[in-house]
Symmetry: C2
């Protein structure tokens, strides 16, 4: 008698970017423009994703108005509050939110995410970001953004402190013996006594470990510093790769760095971001994309693209190609890679600015797949089989409709091919992702 | 035709102190010792309070283990996460939580509470505290507690910034015109451009105003600095008065300070803390109290009382009166007032330490009423009629049972006397408390 090894399956998160990835999503006849501040919008999307057995929802964040709010929604509600709301409305799906290491204190972040982990019975994840925008810096007493290296040095120490706080209680510290009156075995609750260059934190945390040990640590940066941070701390990485080759190279580099940091290779999952636009036929999907993109005010597109290129907006003309003699953004660093590849291809193919903007699907900085459910399932399966991805952080064009299209069309195909679960086998985020419950040290 | 003025009614909050106010509450046969980290415990208590038409739930907080955790539960889960959970499980009751002005950034606090206000459709309140304990200071890079004046200077500027952020959007800033593509009228979203001695915050907030304008601002300190802070900013004050005379004097001082700050007197509600121990007869209620207090490990009582008195624990003996020649804590500053009054009376009556501890009901620092529903209703009505209280922040001995006893026994009596609502007339916390929706400036 032999025991079959369970087949390797891919992981799916849905990134709930308010009304959807495409900046005009709120303008569709079926969209509620108030969705970005409506908790029911978020819980509804989470319930659709849970019914489809997704691993997790994912919330981006910015503690500032960091986009052209006169033309599109922003991340408005503080995302751990939304996670708690979604925890109450679901029972199995994982709950990941973003929080900045530059504009928070590690004790507060450790406690907040551990709290979400407790109220959700072990379904929380923290996506740590260092926050590169000036608008955020200005809300926290700074006139400029701390430089990249400084931000990542702080982030590394921040993550260390947070993990030590999450592990400050031994698993059997809570005694609760009504007969003797002993509530906690204080010898099993350990102050962390951290003294570093950025933080001094005595500890312990106010909370025991959770059903999954502690929240899953997610990271999103693609720079050299980001890779090192991920190698040391992250259990899932949300990447921004455009081509399979590039994603595979990056995933392998990441896996090697994880091993070099003394961790098992399987302890980190690579989840590229992916915008999906689903149609019954390829032509319908492309038409849907073009209509959506054409519904973005031109001012938005031009401002956004000019910003990426570092040029004045008036140098861009809708029906002309990109001006000659401008430098494209360098690759190799998160979203920039995506822009570099798309803009290079655009220049090669002599696309007009309007055509380019369509390819960028509004310029959010992630790969866009446009097609039938079969085409999208093939794409996912190909990336997954090659090792370029352990799964995907999906950013549907429009929410909830684009997610519903994906769930109805693509998920059954993935399930039929044995690539995606048909039922949850675990109850924690860590179990969904195939990550071990971390030991205390 | 005349319009009847609605009768003045009192306000009731329940302070959800994990298993209950008395430190031994977790040891009762019916108590779940894991309640302090069980979200369902909190939502159940909130639902009982909502069924009884309470104004709000209230959550204390400490971002540190600040009590003898080997003997009793602590405030463990970060309270805004619990508010979001309770928001999902209720529809009308207000939701107030505590957060520190010393160990947070105003942008984060403004955003977090505004987020709770949005997910609860206008039911949030923020209890601002300056955090006086050393354990908290040590979790945020400090080796000692910042001094009182320093903490209150920061708190005053903190509150100013938070309120300006809450008001940074005009009420009609969100346009969401699908036809034109205008999402927000950016001219109606105002950076606050705050430059102060403690903070520099550009703004605006990521969120529009809520159904109630912005969260209700609650304050709890009884010192001179605390009074000034309340007079300028607070809309409800959680006080710790022991006698009616003292409470009335304090309430009048507070109301005068509010007027002096240019605000209408009714714009601040005085809500003394009150621990309730309900019995079918007075003797049964006293027996319940004594049994509960006697279930607290003696080590806890001695450590706590010695801490209040500033003496070594070995100077206290259960069956002897307080030692002579020790100074009682001075009155006039929050919980200290309660201790001063109770300890003075104890010395006068030559109570033993054990009897004193019973009167303190475990030493949590608030007035304790022990009696039948009629006696408790009389007490509340008397305080309310005299002007010493606009309502009460109730701290039932045991949760949820002690709240259920209050709701079943005391609430109907108050309702019969016309002193408490029998149905919600509004849907926001501000409406429950009879506070006007604040203008933007």
């Amino acid at each position: 008698m032999t025991t079959a090894t369970p087949p390797r399956q891919l992981h799916l998160n849905v990134n709930i970017l308010h009304s959807g990835f495409v900046p005009s999503a709120w303008r569709l006849p079926g969209s509620d423009p108030g969705a970005f501040i409506d908790v029911h919008h978020y819980t509804r999307v989470a319930q659709i994703a849970e019914a489809a057995k997704f691993d997790a929802v994912f919330l981006a964040d910015n503690a500032a108005i960091a986009d052209q709010i006169h033309l599109r929604p922003i991340t408005a509600i503080e995302p751990t509050i939304l996670l708690a709301s979604m925890a109450a409305a679901t029972s199995r799906i994982g709950l990941i939110a973003t929080a900045s290491t530059s504009y928070n204190e590690p004790y507060n972040i450790a406690r907040r995410f551990a709290s979400v982990d407790h109220v959700s019975a072990g379904r929380a994840g923290w996506n740590m970001v260092t926050t590169a925008d000036l608008a955020s810096a200005r809300n926290f007493g700074r006139q400029e953004v701390p430089d990249h290296q400084q931000r990542y040095a702080r982030a590394g120490e921040f993550a260390t402190v947070v993990k030590r706080l999450w592990n400050s209680w031994e698993d059997d510290a809570l005694v609760a013996d009504k007969a003797t009156g002993q509530f906690v075995d204080a010898a099993k609750v350990h102050p962390i006594l951290h003294q570093g260059s950025h933080f001094a934190v005595h500890g312990a945390l106010t909370l025991p470990r959770s059903a999954q040990g502690h929240p899953v640590l997610v990271q999103a940066g693609g720079s050299a510093d980001g890779l090192q941070l991920a190698a040391e701390h992250a259990e899932a990485v949300f990447t921004a790769s455009t081509t399979l080759e590039e994603s595979l190279a990056y995933a392998n580099k990441l896996r090697a760095a994880v091993r070099a940091a003394g961790r098992p290779a399987g302890s980190l999952k690579v989840l590229p971001g992916l915008t999906t636009i689903v149609g019954a036929t390829e032509a319908e999907a492309v038409r849907r994309r073009d209509e959506l993109v054409d519904l973005i005010p031109w001012e938005y597109n031009v401002t956004r693209l000019a910003g990426i290129l570092g040029i004045a907006p008036d140098r861009l003309h809708a029906d002309q190609p990109l001006p000659d003699h401008i430098e494209l953004p360098a690759g190799g660093n998160g979203n920039h890679t995506f822009f570099h590849a798309t803009l290079s291809a655009g220049r090669r193919d002599k696309l007009t600015v309007r055509e380019l903007v369509r390819r960028l699907a509004g310029g959010g900085g992630h790969r866009v797949v446009v097609g039938t459910p079969e085409q999208i399932a093939d794409d996912l399966a190909h990336w997954f089989a090659s090792g370029a991805a352990d799964g995907f952080n999906l950013m549907p064009d429009v929410l909830p409709d684009g997610l519903q299209d994906f769930v109805d069309g693509v998920v059954p195909l993935l399930q039929r091919r044995g690539l995606f679960r048909t039922e949850y086998t675990g109850s924690t985020l860590r179990e969904h992702l195939g990550l071990a419950r971390p030991p205390r040290h």
